[in-house]
Amino acid sequence: MNSIGENCNDLKSRYDACFNAWFSEKFLKGHTDDSVCKPLFLSYQKCVQEALTLHKIDVIDLKTNHINGTEFDKPTKSNEDNSSKKEAES
């Protein structure tokens, strides 16, 4: 799947491959240490954040403007609070 920034496609596909393997082999088996893909994530992020700016998408703005709950799922308040306090990873 492509990235919003054409020049990020290569970095994205390398990160995605790492994440998919980590998700199947580690996370679903109860291991929550995600440091193995961190270097790839950071270089992909550097690229994608620049592309978002170019497309005038403000990620921080999106956090305050998100769905709150549905009939079958009420998000826990603490999760919402944490995510709105957290700064964008770059």
Binding site: M1, S3, Y15, N20, F23, Y44, I57, L62, F72, E89
Partner: protein, 206 residues
């Protein structure tokens, strides 16, 4: 405001379905999505939190396009949580493009089927709201129909990805067994050579 809900059962275990959910795009049934980007991801209390920007090309009826104007690419913000221990994945998506007068909020929840843990139950809900433009209600109806149609395509798309992953797993298994066979072959050859070597060494000694 229109609310649309639906449920679907996948005949695959939760672990398989959620792996496929991350790899849902691209798929041939659902070609509207042209890009996905993770913009934040971390683990809190064992739960994986992700924030993705989803880029897609929407196809509206012509009269809707005339009223609201449809850009080439529409962006949506998707927040998700995966709780591996509690076996639950929730994705919430809201549109970024179109701002305040049109909002499409979608929630998908994947959990093991309560009566059959080998199956996965998908609960899906979409809320469509159009405000402050002509023909609001008609537009909501048209968009809701669109969502219902796309949801069906989305499930077919996910089934397609699950099949692809299962085939990949089979191919890897096949590759591994082939590798094992050829390694066994090498070991056999090596053993034979060693036997021959020791036999010839013995000959030399005697």
């Amino acid at each position: 405001m229109k609310i649309w809900t639906s449920e679907h059962i996948f005949n695959h275990p939760w672990e398989t379905v959620v792996q496929a959910a991350w790899r849902k795009y691209p798929n041939p049934m659902n070609t509207a999505v042209i890009g996905t980007d993770v913009v934040e991801r971390d683990i809190k209390d064992g739960v994986l939190h992700s924030h993705r920007i989803v880029s897609s090309q929407w196809h509206f009826p012509k009269w809707v396009e005339k009223i609201i104007g449809v850009p080439k690419v529409v962006y949506a913000s998707e927040r998700s949580t995966v709780d591996a221990e509690g076996r639950q994945m929730t994705l919430k998506t809201t549109n970024v493009t179109f701002g305040t007068f049109l909002s499409v909020d979608e929630v998908l929840q994947y959990a093991p089927h309560p009566k059959d843990p080998a199956k996965t139950l998908l609960k899906q809900q979409a809320t469509v709201s159009v405000e402050g433009v002509p023909l609001c209600r008609y537009m909501e109806d048209a968009l809701t129909k669109n969502i219902s149609f796309n949801a069906n395509r989305g499930r077919q798309g996910l089934e397609w990805v699950i099949n692809k992953i299962n085939t990949e797993v089979k191919e890897i298994d096949h590759l591994l067994s082939q590798t094992k066979k050829s390694l066994d072959g090498i070991t056999d050859t090596a053993r034979k050579s060693m036997d021959e070597l020791s036999a010839s060494t013995q000959k030399i000694h005697f």
